[in-house]
């Protein structure tokens, strides 16, 4: 019980510290977190306008793009930050009560919190442009976003463990992320795809989280093939694998 309390204390301290190092460097601070997602959303919104493409029925262009891009960003940013968590904070392992896993957990929590705020801001912004929507289920939206971050955190944990052994992980990571970006239903609802294409995309757990977010936000959004348990199984599997790697890598980390 005492151990758990210490761990919570450590994660809380790390969380405040991460917030400062991540957002404290500039006076605009937290605003910078919005820039990448905002740029993507505006760019695609512009392209939709130019090519006269319409968002799927029952959604708005801004809302549709924001639900996709912010959810994907929650996945990717959490994975990226968690992956470098140990490398960036190795010095802190010097304090006996700080364990490698705490570093990863603190970063994951910060990313989840950041993306919940981003989602609120962007969907709020979309509502200003498109009119206030009738929300289907706030809970479902949050579950989808949480699952996306969870996938990112567990993948980051695995990469973190692997990178102790192989430097190539970071290079492969970028390629994998690009692949996931184009197969996560960010620009086409799964139901609008032909069956063959949809069946392939349904293997991608991130696509399930994106569609869960949308199905929570837009009333009547058709997400009949989406399953929230599927990404959850991925999270559990990756976490299990990542924790095993951490156990094996522990000794190596101490030496460096």
């Amino acid at each position: 019980m005492r151990g758990l309390l210490t761990q919570l204390q450590v994660v809380y301290a790390l969380l405040l510290r991460e917030t400062k190092t991540r957002f404290g460097a500039s006076h605009l601070g937290y605003l910078w977190a919005m820039v990448p997602s905002a740029a993507w959303i505006l760019m695609f919104a512009g392209m939709y306008r130019i090519f006269g493409r319409l968002a799927p029925p029952g959604t708005s262009t801004m809302g549709f793009l924001a639900t996709g891009i912010v959810t994907f960003s929650a996945f990717r940013e959490t994975a990226t930050r968690c992956m470098s968590a140990i490398e960036a904070n190795k010095g802190l392992l010097f304090y006996p009560q700080v364990r490698p896993l705490d570093l990863v957990v603190a970063r994951a929590v910060l990313e989840i919190a950041t993306h919940v705020i981003l989602m609120v801001l962007f969907l709020g912004g979309a509502a200003l442009i498109d009119g206030v929507p009738r929300i289907n289920s706030m809970l479902e939206t949050l579950v989808g976003l949480g699952l996306a971050s969870g996938l990112g955190a567990s993948l980051g944990l695995v990469c973190c463990g692997l990178s102790v052994y192989a430097q190539t992980v970071e290079r492969v990571f970028g390629t994998v992320m690009r692949f996931i970006f184009w197969t996560s239903a960010l620009f086409h609802p799964l139901e609008s795809l032909p069956k063959a294409g949809r069946d392939v995309l349904l293997w991608n757990p991130v696509a399930h989280t994106v569609e869960t977010v949308r199905s929570g936000w837009f009333p009547g959004y058709d997400a009949r093939h989406v399953n929230v348990w599927y990404p959850l199984v991925w999270i559990l599997g990756l976490t299990f694998f990542g924790l095993s790697l951490e156990r094996m890598a522990r000794r190596r980390l101490e030496l460096s």
Binding site: T6, L93, F94, Y95, R251, E254
Partner: protein, 215 residues
Amino acid sequence: MIELENVSKAYATRSGANQVLDAVSFSFPAHTNIGILGKNGAGKSTLLRIIAGTEQADSGQIRRAGVVSWPIGFSGGFSGSLTGEENCRFVARIYGADLDEVVGFTADFAELRDYFYMPVKTYSSGMRARLAFGLSMAIAFDAYLVDEVTAVGDAQFQAKCREAFEARSGRSSVIIVSHNLSTVRDYCQRCLVLKGGKLLSFDSVDEATRAYEAA
């Protein structure tokens, strides 16, 4: 009180395993300052890190009663982009200590003045060491683990450190590893010598230093 029981640690080297600690057993009594002498590379710092829990032993048991410090030395534990104050707040938080007290004490003790509120990466190595030392003094440990205290600051700062330890002598103990005889004589009531992976115990500091010098 800290107890080591059959603690072993080896590092892999090109010519096979280097047995730094070979089934070391010792019971460090409470409220007694203990010096551990050893030549360079004898494994002093490794022993200290294992006592602190920063590093795991290959085998054996370590039992700690009370709060044991991290290995206090001239390096480690600060992030360069944060200020001295922010680093202090972080450490106070992970030890569950009072933030204002720790920050106030450290600012006063480390004598960094304006630098205390500047990023640690702008510090000289002496300033870093003073910050580290002041910070460790600000937290009430039952045992302070010190790595080469002589490296910290000038004579005046040294005297201050000694006073700080003396003020705590009733409540906490100090374990110092060093290759410097006078440091150990100044601080410690008992002295051990680390040699060939074994921790040798002596009845008096004089005996230990004689054995150390003979080696």
